[in-house]
């Protein structure tokens, strides 16, 4: 399968990249690892005149942690780099789990976490945990920089909140609060490699008595975007997350979901899996609070 013709651009700085996006608005496509983009080009689902490779831009590199600001995942950080990064493993182990659950070894050596988010697939592996952990995306254009909360980032399948003239620079994930716990759960038709039939990310924060002070639950592949399970979240507030409470929250998450049937699973199966995975995620997250 050969690719359609395009002109390739490789800016060496963010400033240059933003200039190119201004100049070729509507005719240009940003390429990180290309694992989504190249397939869409090969299928002729997209035919940009210009493809802008962003791997020579130093500002987009790296993964770092700051005790005040939290984690920074540069736009060109590979899925495999995030999965194996020592700071991520120590402080954000569920981000590592999600990156590792994405695709194959080869694809993780090419694709980025940012590309996974920007691609805005409702089933993307890295979205639920980033939503649960209240991440934000830093967008840059020649007009300047802005921070987009992840709750406002996904607009629909394949659609994100970036303007045509913007490039996503980095993902910021806050420092985990004390007595907080996170979980990522995924189920897919094949045990490995496959796109999720359903996935769930959850974060809970509890007080010294174990009473839930904050809950963020995100359901993947059961709606047009990664969905917040708001009725389950509200139900949890003020309660100790026992098995029974987690089960009830799971059932509420099941009603928050709006799944469809497709080749990967029927909507009935998806709803059932939302219920079970939410319960599992809440129990693991509670365990992670250490209370």
């Amino acid at each position: 399968m050969s690719l359609p013709k395009f002109t390739y651009l490789a800016p060496a700085s963010l400033e240059e990249a933003c200039g190119l996006l201004d100049q070729y608005q509507g005719k240009i496509r940003t390429k990180a690892g290309g694992t989504d983009l190249m397939v869409r080009l090969a299928q002729r689902a997209l035919k940009p005149e210009y493809v802008m490779g962003i791997r020579n831009i130093p500002e987009l590199e790296g993964i770092s942690f700051d005790p005040d600001k939290g984690l920074r995942i540069g736009a060109m950080a590979l899925l495999s780099e995030v999965a194996d990064n020592p700071v991520v493993l120590e402080r954000y182990p569920m981000l590592s789990r999600a990156a590792k659950a994405t695709a194959t070894v080869q694809i993780r050596n090419m694709g980025t976490v940012m590309g996974n988010i920007c691609n805005a697939s409702p089933s993307a592996d890295n979205s639920p945990t980033l939503v649960a952990m209240n991440a934000s995306i830093v967008a840059v254009s020649s007009a300047g920089e802005r921070q987009i909360p992840i709750d406002e980032f996904f607009l629909g399948p394949g659609r994100n909140a970036l303007e045509a003239t913007e490039i996503a620079k980095e993902i910021l994930v806050p420092v985990p609060l004390s007595r907080s716990g996170v979980s990522y759960q995924k189920i897919s038709p094949r045990s490995k490699v496959d796109i999720a039939a359903v996935n769930v990310g959850a974060m809970v924060v509890v007080d010294e008595q174990g009473t839930c002070q904050q809950a963020r639950i995100c359901l993947g592949a059961v709606g047009p975007i990664p969905l917040r399970a708001t009725s389950a979240e509200e139900f949890l507030l003020g309660k100790v997350i026992t098995d029974e409470v987690a089960e009830k929250a799971g059932a509420l998450a099941g009603s928050d979901a709006s799944p469809i049937s497709d080749v990967r699973a029927s909507k009935e199966y998806r709803r059932l899996m939302v219920i079970i995975l939410t319960k599992r995620a809440l129990l693991e997250a509670r365990h992670g609070t250490g209370i």
Binding site: S2, L3, P4, A10, L41, R55, T104, V105, I107
Partner: protein, 159 residues
């Protein structure tokens, strides 16, 4: 619209004029005639096109040739140390009967090389996870796992 690029493949440097939309897989197979690297799906799913770029396994069907200039590319043709000998991984695949039609084999061997470079003593589960991006229609995988265990052992002894 062709651009002149320089590619380092298996220790040799090649100067080539390529169009920017050509994949590394196309350039390896069509321009350099290194047809050991296969093209299966063309969409990243099967692993038949796996090569190493700076030591990392990637799908050459989803890689643009112009983006891997200046990087060290290793294909199946670069595995054997010389014309008489095979690489220990290749020997193990033959000895353990891990090859039937052979179409998946170059990709399997490149993925094995990546796995064993990063993990000298993988468990069966780690082998299966490490090779999960490579599909085989013939062997049922068990003999491939045997071959990889055998190769891992030989490579540990060589050290």
């Amino acid at each position: 619209m062709k651009q002149t690029i320089s590619l380092q493949v298996n220790g040799d440097t090649y100067q080539l004029a390529v169009n920017p939309w050509r994949t590394l897989n196309e350039v390896l197979r069509e321009d350099l005639k290194l047809t050991g690297t296969k093209l299966g799906c063309g969409t990243g799913d099967c692993g038949a096109c796996t090569v190493l770029v700076d030591g990392k396994s990637v799908s050459s069907c989803l890689t643009l040739a112009i983006e891997v200039q200046g990087k060290e590319i290793t294909t199946i043709e670069g595995m054997a140390p010389n014309a008489e000998e095979l690489h220990p991984i290749q020997e193990s695949f033959i000895q353990k009967g891990a090859i039937q039609c052979g179409f998946c084999t170059p990709g399997m061997i490149m993925s094995t090389a990546y796995l064993l470079n990063n993990n000298h003593n993988p468990t069966e589960q780690e082998i299966r996870a490490g090779l999960s991006g490579n599909l085989c229609r013939c062997t049922g995988y068990n003999k491939i796992v045997d071959a990889i265990q055998d190769a891992a052992e030989k490579l540990r002894e060589d050290k």
